[in-house]
Symmetry: C2
Subunit: 198 residues, 2 copies
Amino acid sequence: MTTSERGPRERMVFSAAQLIRRDGVTATGLREVVSDAEAPRGSLQHYFPGGKEQLVNEAVEWAGRYAADRIARFLSTMSRPTPGKLFAAMVRQWTDEFKATGDLKGCPVAAATVDCADTVESTRAASAAAFACWRRPIARELTAMGVPPRKADALATLMISSLEGAILMSRAEQNVRPLTTVARELAPYLDSCATQEA
Amino acid sequence: MTTSERGPRERMVFSAAQLIRRDGVTATGLREVVSDAEAPRGSLQHYFPGGKEQLVNEAVEWAGRYAADRIARFLSTMSRPTPGKLFAAMVRQWTDEFKATGDLKGCPVAAATVDCADTVESTRAASAAAFACWRRPIARELTAMGVPPRKADALATLMISSLEGAILMSRAEQNVRPLTTVARELAPYLDSCATQEA
DNA sequence: TGCCGATTATGACAACGGTCATGATAATGG
DNA sequence: CCATTATCATGACCGTTGTCATAATCGGCA
């Protein structure tokens, strides 16, 4: 999670994701990304000949992979996983960040969707791919918990939707209430889908 | 819904909301708003001495009131309203727009949150107020359907969160699948909260 | 008519954006 | 050691942005 020893290229993608998370795509300047990543400015045009569009798309892809990887990590910490517990863990990642840093940043994929879906086709496609990349492992784990495959995919969509929306509301309110509320309301229903076949 | 006979001031607020819906706050230029609203440029500094920040905030407030007013309108078309039917109607408004125009614009409040929550305090506050203004009539109607007040507020938060998230995913996918999925999954659970006291 | 505030017109300014051209330096392999 | 590529440095360009200063025009009212 820290800057670590990665090359300038990866650092720029990471920094771009973080800045997009906070300010949105349009308000994030390339010079700002470069300085935040402590990367040489010349590297931009070298590693990202596609310009800002390419950098943003890679940041979105990175975020999708990151979210997907977290799912496996969440599961590994549970002795007896259930859909509700998985969702609670997803939500907790955001409430924890709020408690730690004092304010909530957003999701890079959501920001890219809001800012680019209607103007930059490749970024819209990258966002869709990131959501799909995130949804896949969730659905897989849900089926492993006894949810029928068709239903698992629908529940995964519901989980991501509710989480993204709750992030939005929590950012606006500067309060984790929407996040915790959504987790509390949805968890029992999600669990009920794992036990009963429907 | 059309440009109608309103004054330049209202037209600019309306146009701002529409453009923000499509491109986000940062990418929406004041000159673009003026031309879209067919308003005189000089009116900008006359009606909005607070600059872009004021215009954006008013657009967000307008969107919040609009969403709140829709709730009453939805209810008026139902003979026997239930929480699930109300949520389905909220979702349908978006899927209908997709069918009509061919692509999905976003929600202005979501865009303002994504683009300004961490940088423009007044806009963050306006977004929070808009969400609250939207949530209030939903919770009120839910209690009228038999949901306990405390639970009604939580369900209203869940409904808005799921809808906003589903809008995001649907925009990314250019497909209403997430919207319809969320409606289908959530409606039965919402209805179950109206019958059983809990 | 003549005045006065509300509204609109117009142009400029300073800052910032992404992009590109060009050249320097470092690294690598023959 | 040379050559060829990878990486980085720098400065400029051009368009756009929000904002502002200034002046023209319109409205109604005395």
